[in-house]
Amino acid sequence: MHRRRRTFGWLVTLALFATLLAACGGGGGTGGTGGSTGGGTASTEPIRVGAIFDLTGATADVGTPYARGQIAFIDWKNEQGGINGRRLQLFSEDYAYQVPRAEELYTKFVTQDKVVVFSGWGTGDTEALRPKITEDKIPFISASYSATLANPAETPYNFLVAPTYSDQLIIAMKWAIEDWKAKGNSGLPKFGYLINDSPFGRSPLADGTAFATSQGIETPLEVPSPRGATDLTPQLTQLRDYGANYIFLQNVSSPAALAIRNAKSLGYNVQFVCLNWCANEILIKLAGADAEGVVGAVPFNHESEGGRIALDFAKAKNIDYGGADSTFVQGWTAMSILIAGVEKVVADGKEVTGENIKEALQTMGAIDTKGVTLPVQFSPTDHAGVKSLKMFRVENGKWVPITDFISAR
C-alpha cells in the first residue's frame, strides 16, 4: 500500500508538470507573437486596434449594427490602402454587456495582442476600465458619452466622439421648451425620464434636472424601466399620473419601442424624446406606425456624404446590420475619428504609441467627418469633441432633421 501511494504521488507530480509545461507553452506562444510588434516608423507591421462589442447582451439590438459599422470601417480603410501602406488589424470580441468579461478581453487585447487604440461600448464597462486605460496609456473611444469621461485631467485617454449624454438631454430639453411654446401652450411643460436601469440610463439625469430647474421647470420624475420588461404600462401610468408632457427616453431601441407602443394602447398622449441610443431605425421597425412623431437627439447624421460612403460600402459588401442605418454610421464614424489620430501620428513619422496618438488627437485640430457630425475638435483640456447636434423626428417611417445644429451651452 505504501509503495502504491508513492507511485501515485509521482503520477500526480508528473501530471502537474505536464499541465505546467502546457500552460507555459500556451503562454509563450501568444507572448511571442505579441513581442514582435514594436511599431517602428517605417515598418509595414499592421496597426493593432482593439474593440469590444455587445452582440448578445442587454444592448445587443443597437450593439450589433454599431459593431458591424466599426468592422466595416476597418475593412474599408484597408481596401483604401491602409495607413501609409500599413494595414489595420482589428482584435474584437463580444462581451455580452458584462463588466468582468470586458475587463478580461481588454487585458487580453492590450497585453497579448498589443493593440494601441481601443474602442469600447457600454457606460458600466467604460467606467470600470478607466483606471486601466490611464495606466496602460491606450486612447479609448466608447459608445458611452458620460460627461464624467470628458475631463482629461481625470481621464486623459478617454475621448468622446459625440455630445455627452448630459448635453444631449439638455439639447432635447431646449427643443422641448421651444416646442411647447410653438404649440401655443402657456406656462411650462412637465418632464419625465423613462430610463434604462443602469449607469447608462442615469448618466445624464443630474445635469438634465439641474438645467430643467434652472428654467423654472418642476423636477422631472425619474422612472427606471426594468431590464427585460415585457410591459411598461405601470411605469407609463406613473408618468401619466405625474402629468409629464415630454418623456425623455435614455434607453436602447427595444424597450423604448415597447414604451411607445404601451403609451399608445394606454391612450396616453405624450411627446417621446429619444436620446442617442433609441433614436434609430430599429425603433421605427419595432414601434411601427406608433413611432410617428417621436423626436430624437441624433448626434450622427447618416444623411450626409460621410454617411453615404459607409452605407454604400455596406451595400457593396452585403453587410447585414438590420437596417439600422444611423447606428451603423455611428460605429463607422466613431472608429474613423479614432483612426484619424493614428493616421496623424503615422503622417508625422512618429512611433505609433498610445501617448503619441493621444497627443495627435489633442493637437491635430478639427477632424472632418464629412457632415456626419460637426468637425470634431479635441484639446488638451477638453475631450468632448462634439458639442452640438440636430434634433430629428420620425416622419413617414424615416428620421428627418427638424432643427439646425443646437448646442447645450
Binding site: C24, G27, V99, G124, A128, P131
Partner: protein
C-alpha cells in the same frame, strides 16, 4: 500486508492531511502558485486574480449551501456590500486596504446574519425567495446611492492600495501586486474553512444540512448555527467583494446583480457542493471557460472561417451546456471527477 488505512495515534487521526502524498501535493501546488506570477504576463495574472477572488466568494457560498444546506441566491448582494463598504471607507475616510478589507468582511458578516434571520422559519424554496429579496434590496439601495450619499459608481483612490503603509506599487504593476494579496487571502480562507468543519460549529452546520430536526434533537441550536453559517458565508463574500473593489479600483453595482449570484451557485455546483477544493475548481472552470473558448475560436479561425461570428452564441450555450452535462454525468462536480481519477490510479489494476 496492510488491508487499509489505520491510524495508530490520535494526532494522525485528527490531522487534516495525514498522508505524505497529500502533503507533497500541497507543497507542489503552493510552489507552482509561487513561481507562476514570475512567468505569467498580465493577462494570465488578471485571470488568476479573478479566479482567486471568485474562489473566495465560492468557498463562502459553499459554507452556506454545500455544508449547511441553506440555499442562497443573494450572494452577489453580499459581495456588493463588501465592495461598497471597502470603497466608501477608502473614499471618505482615506482608509488603506489592510483596514478596509477586514472591516468590510466583518460588516458584510453582520449584514449576512441579518438577512439570514428568515432562515429560522423558512426552508428550501421559501428561503431561496427570501435571499433573492435580500439581493434585490441591496441592489436597490446601491442603485439609489444618492440616498446614502454616493453615486452610481465608486472610484477608489490609488493611495488606498497599500499594505501596512507600504504602497502596492512597490511590488510591481497592479496585477502582479494583487496576485500576492489575492493568493494570500485565498490561502487563509482555505485554511480557515478546511479546519472549520473539524470544529463544533462546522459539525453543527453539517448536522443541520443532513437533517435539521435530528440536529436539534441532539442539541444543536438551529437558530444560532444557521445565523452563524450566514455570517461566515457572508464574511467571505465581503472579503471577495472588498478585494474586487481594491483590485479593480472602480466599482458599480452592475457587477453584483442576480446574474452574479447565479454564477456563484453554478460555480459550486460544477465544482462540487460541500467541498473547499471543489469551490476553487468551479471558480477556475467558470472563469476560464469563456477565455478558453475565445482562444480556441481564434486558433480555429484559419480552419473554420466565420467562427468568430458564431462565437458569442457558442459562449452563451457553453455555460448552459456545461451545467447540464455536469448535472447528468457528474452531479458531484469536478471534485468527484478528480477523486475518480485518483481512485483509478490508486486501485489499479484491480479497481474494486
Amino acid at each position: 500486508m496492510q488491508s487499509g488505512t489505520f491510524h495508530t495515534t490520535y494526532a494522525s487521526d485528527v490531522s487534516l492531511r495525514p498522508y505524505w502524498p497529500q502533503r507533497i501535493r500541497i507543497i507542489i501546488v503552493l510552489a507552482l502558485a509561487l513561481i507562476f506570477p514570475w512567468f505569467a504576463d498580465r493577462y494570465w495574472l488578471n485571470l488568476a486574480n479573478t479566479i482567486a477572488i471568485a474562489a473566495i466568494g465560492a468557498i463562502g457560498l459553499n459554507i452556506l449551501v454545500g455544508y449547511t444546506g441553506q440555499i442562497s441566491i443573494g450572494h452577489g448582494g453580499f459581495l456588493a456590500v463588501g465592495a461598497y463598504t471597502a470603497g466608501l471607507m477608502a473614499v471618505h475616510l482615506g482608509a488603506p486596504m489592510w483596514i478596509t478589507i477586514p472591516v468590510a468582511s466583518f460588516f458584510t458578516a453582520a449584514v449576512g446574519a441579518f438577512f439570514g434571520l428568515p432562515s429560522l422559519r423558512l426552508k428550501g424554496l421559501y428561503l431561496a425567495i427570501a435571499t433573492l429579496a435580500s439581493q434585490e434590496i441591496i441592489i436597490w439601495v446601491l442603485t439609489h446611492g444618492k440616498l446614502l450619499g454616493f453615486g452610481e459608481s465608486l472610484s477608489l483612490p490609488r493611495a488606498s492600495n497599500n499594505l501596512f503603509g507600504l504602497p502596492m506599487e512597490w511590488l510591481g504593476n497592479n496585477d502582479f501586486a494583487f496576485y500576492w494579496v489575492c493568493l494570500g487571502a485565498l490561502i487563509l480562507t482555505v485554511i480557515f474553512v478546511s479546519n472549520l468543519f473539524r470544529t463544533r460549529a462546522g459539525r453543527a452546520f453539517v448536522a443541520i444540512r443532513d437533517q435539521d430536526i435530528a440536529a436539534q434533537v441532539i442539541g444543536v441550536d438551529l437558530f444560532r448555527y444557521k445565523l452563524l453559517a450566514f455570517a461566515t458565508s457572508s464574511f467571505f463574500a465581503g472579503l471577495a467583494g472588498a478585494l474586487t473593489a481594491h483590485y479593480r479600483g472602480i466599482i458599480s453595482w452592475e457587477r453584483f446583480t442576480i446574474d452574479t449570484s447565479i454564477l456563484f451557485l453554478a460555480m459550486i455546483i460544477i465544482g462540487g457542493l460541500g467541498s473547499v477544493s471543489g469551490s476553487i475548481y468551479g471558480a477556475a472552470f467558470m472563469t476560464l471557460l469563456p477565455a478558453l473558448l475565445s482562444n480556441l475560436a481564434r486558433a480555429l479561425s484559419d480552419v473554420v472561417p466565420n467562427i468568430n461570428a458564431y462565437l458569442p452564441y457558442m459562449q452563451q450555450g457553453a455555460f448552459g451546456l456545461a451545467i447540464i452535462l455536469f448535472l447528468i454525468f457528474e452531479p458531484e462536480g469536478i471534485v468527484k471527477m478528480w477523486r475518480n481519477v485518483k481512485d483509478y490510479f490508486r486501485l489499479w489494476p484491480f479497481s474494486y
